[in-house]
Symmetry: C2
Subunit: 240 residues, 2 copies
């Protein structure tokens, strides 16, 4: 079992931590955290320096799992990273993402025509890559397994374990991660609908500076896919 | 707002990731990941190399939050680490743990007489430090906030945000982390009771080699606290 998890500047640790643990607990698994070079990166939000284990060049060509967590906006327009994802994704048994990781898969041309989940803040950004947005928390469409952000990483990991190894292993992982949510501990504000517009807009306003980089990077990624003939030029279609 | 998160060989990333993000998103927060020195550590399970930001010596003396995730068994008998936790814990506004982090707090003498939560696999190990085991997922007892393992890290983070900053911020964090669990996505095996004895014993057998180091390290930690007069010698009491 060979797995590669993309890491990059601005990686969200909570997105990759459960899957990294689950994959590492499969006997004789080979789990790589991959980036261009073995340089110190920092997670987002905050400062958490870490090192990739494996360069793109060293990463196995045939992967059982290619997993992408949320990474920084600028990475979505990075040719080297998108080429790596497109190549490995074309041959991987499962191509999978958590949170904004779906935007990276989309930017690499891997979600065109696929039903997809991502963090609710990013829903409107995905269709430009041909992805079909859903309201589901974890979506399995052929060999693509995508999920919402943050806490959905645990359900994503259980669903991935089920498809990759089987029900018995997935049930062990659910028990290991103590997936037994207790509603009375929290507020019930886990979705925009449940939170209501005031709270939702307050959070969106706070996050706006962090998210400002996405739009230009994604626009560049769309142009790149169109130039490669991998995405229809909707503007051109509209003109014709 | 000053926070320190203990990191060490064998740190469980999933335990610290949500709290690290939540603390880092508080305006003007100072969030340290602390260890003896700035050397490369690896997470557990699997290989995930990372760097602490701050040494024990550099860590602020007055902390708003001292947070301990699960760390490797051998750390539970390490004098330097236990002394650091005891000193900072005595003055911190909140002393808090996820999963096996409660064993470290216990070994540092910080849970004697406190109601406590930890991963169900470790429940029997905690009372030797005077901690009172509960079946709750997140426990707040005075300024101690402890929680179960794995996925409970998210609820722990929301509860910590509530006590540290207030309801408005905690609700934003719940929405940011999309805490909206979907039972139909999983198996319903998230606790030993729900999983049943066969699955539970299968997982315990698999994890036994990883957990073998805990008993001798914790026994040494108990002796250390007794020698410091911080824990009653129950064997001596029984003899008298």
């Amino acid at each position: 079992m060979k797995a590669a998890i993309l890491v990059a500047p601005g990686t969200v640790l909570a997105d990759l931590a459960p899957a990294h643990a689950m994959l590492s607990m499969i006997p004789s698994a080979e789990v790589h955290t991959v980036w261009k070079k073995k340089e110190i990166l920092s997670a987002f939000p905050g400062t958490f320096p870490f090192l990739p284990t494996t360069t793109f060049a060293e990463c196995p060509r045939q992967l059982d799992v290619l997993l992408v967590p949320a990474v920084g906006p600028e990475v979505h327009a990075d040719d080297e990273t998108l080429d790596f994802l497109a190549e490995r994704g074309a041959e991987a048994r499962f191509v999978t993402s958590v949170c904004a990781g779906a935007l990276m898969l989309g930017a690499a041309g891997l979600l065109n025509g696929y039903r997809t989940a991502t963090h609710w803040m990013l829903d409107e950004m995905l269709p430009q890559f041909g992805a079909i947005i859903t309201t589901e928390r974890v979506v399995v469409d052929r060999n693509r397994i995508t999920s919402d952000g943050g806490s959905a990483a645990t359900e994503h990991t259980i669903v991935l374990a089920k498809h990759l190894v089987g029900d018995d292993y997935a049930q062990e992982i659910e028990l290991f991660f103590e997936w037994d949510p207790q509603p009375q501990l929290v507020f019930g504000t886990g979705t925009p609908t449940k939170a209501g517009p005031e709270l939702t807009n307050r959070l969106l306003t706070k996050m706006a500076p962090e998210f400002a980089g996405f739009a230009p990077a994604l626009a560049k990624a769309v142009e790149r896919l169109q130039a490669q003939g991998l995405l229809e030029d909707r503007a051109a279609l509209a003109r014709s």
